[in-house]
Symmetry: C2
Subunit: 239 residues, 2 copies
């Protein structure tokens, strides 16, 4: 672990690292060739987009606002995306990709016990969305009111997360570790408990609820709801 160079970083989920990946994924749509120039400006553009959109909505954010907030000109912006909708798609794609990459790769130490696996999913999801909070808020708020392709991407991404949860619940129920009536419905109910943290982030900040408290309370709430059998294992997780 090396020190991050931005304030809000969490290493692999830093603005820098995420924009690096956006640049690689969209090389053909981005006219600027030099990586260090492109990534730096993408970071300024994405940062401005998230800030303005999360305040007033993506649709209500004009490219003039965006130019001013990012420090580029109107025309300059268009070297980084071919149109406004593609800028949206770039951000949505990065959110969905990062979430799937993380949640789809649990550490091997965790997967053999459904309780530990479920607890890991809960904590990882909450910590990921904390590190990328503006990104997830953006995806959550904007995905609904936009073109079919982008909308579908968001729905699929949500469904994928839910499937991961459902698989763990199913294995736990089969092994007698959980007592669950409808596994898919339970997975569907767990999702909004994880989203709550970033969607209502302001509320918890105002109340002084720390992420550790929220992770603990949510894990406890969900474990009770699925009637997780207590064992000798500590509930403490690797940070």
């Amino acid at each position: 672990m090396q020190p991050a160079d931005h304030k809000d970083d969490a290493g692999a989920f830093s603005m820098e690292a995420l924009c690096q990946r956006i640049f690689e994924r969209h090389r053909d749509a981005i006219r600027v060739r030099k990586p260090h120039v492109a990534v730096a400006n993408l970071a300024r553009i994405v940062e401005a987009t998230l800030k303005l959109s999360n305040r007033q909505g993506f649709h209500a954010t004009s490219l003039r606002d965006l130019a001013e907030a990012s420090g580029l000109s109107m025309g300059g912006l268009y070297a980084y995306f071919p149109n406004k909708t593609t800028l949206l798609a770039m951000i949505l794609g990065e959110v969905a990709g990062t979430a799937q990459a993380l949640l789809g790769s649990p550490p091997p130490t965790v997967t053999d016990d459904p309780r530990r696996h479920l607890a890991w999913l809960i904590e990882s999801h909450i910590r990921l969305t904390e590190a990328m909070q503006p990104w997830f808020v953006f995806a959550f708020m904007e995905a609904k009111s936009f073109p079919a392709a982008e909308r579908r991407q968001a729905v699929d991404s949500e469904a994928a997360t839910e499937t991961i949860i459902a698989d763990v619940l199913r294995r736990g129920a089969a092994g007698g570790v959980f007592a669950i009536g409808d596994v898919d419905l339970s997975a569907a109910l767990i999702k909004p408990l994880l989203q709550e943290w970033y969607v209502k982030r302001a509320k918890y900040r105002k109340r002084g609820t720390s992420i550790e408290t929220y992770v603990a309370a949510t894990t406890d709430f969900i474990m009770a709801a699925v009637r997780a059998r207590a064992t000798g294992h500590s509930s403490k997780l690797p940070g």
Copy 2:
């Protein structure tokens, strides 16, 4: 109980009844004097607003679209609201008012047992938002990205519902009926489980999940999460 005259009605939560209240609340902002004319046209305007906004967002819905979908002219619309923002506020206010009126008046047969009271809150909230689904989706999606006054109204309304839940949890915890660590945090976690039904309505429709199934599963999930003590009472609720 008398038969409703619209398809999606649930009596007091019909488009007609809700627009009647909007008309009464905003008589001074609405230039049309005759109640039966005003209420009928308000219904067409609100219906069109909810339909178009829930597809593409309120901001992206133009007054020309709205005029065409409601069957009125551009100028005609402005006899029913002084500006677009007030139209938003009218709808948000009606949603918040209806929710508070219902959830704040539990039947006396229910309030003396926290378990029954909590179950009643769960079922009532879900059935209300089912009857007024487009209204609640609209409020949920649009409240964030709009003027301070309207935004505050939405936040306050959410907080009020959460307070009602927290009060019931607190009484139950005090009486040993529930075992809860942090009452306020638990109430905050119950909220998104109730919102899930209308926010993701399409998903459950596709899966064939009925409202009865969802109410039962959510009630079960929440009761387990708060460690509700089992009793001899039936868990069946009055419809």
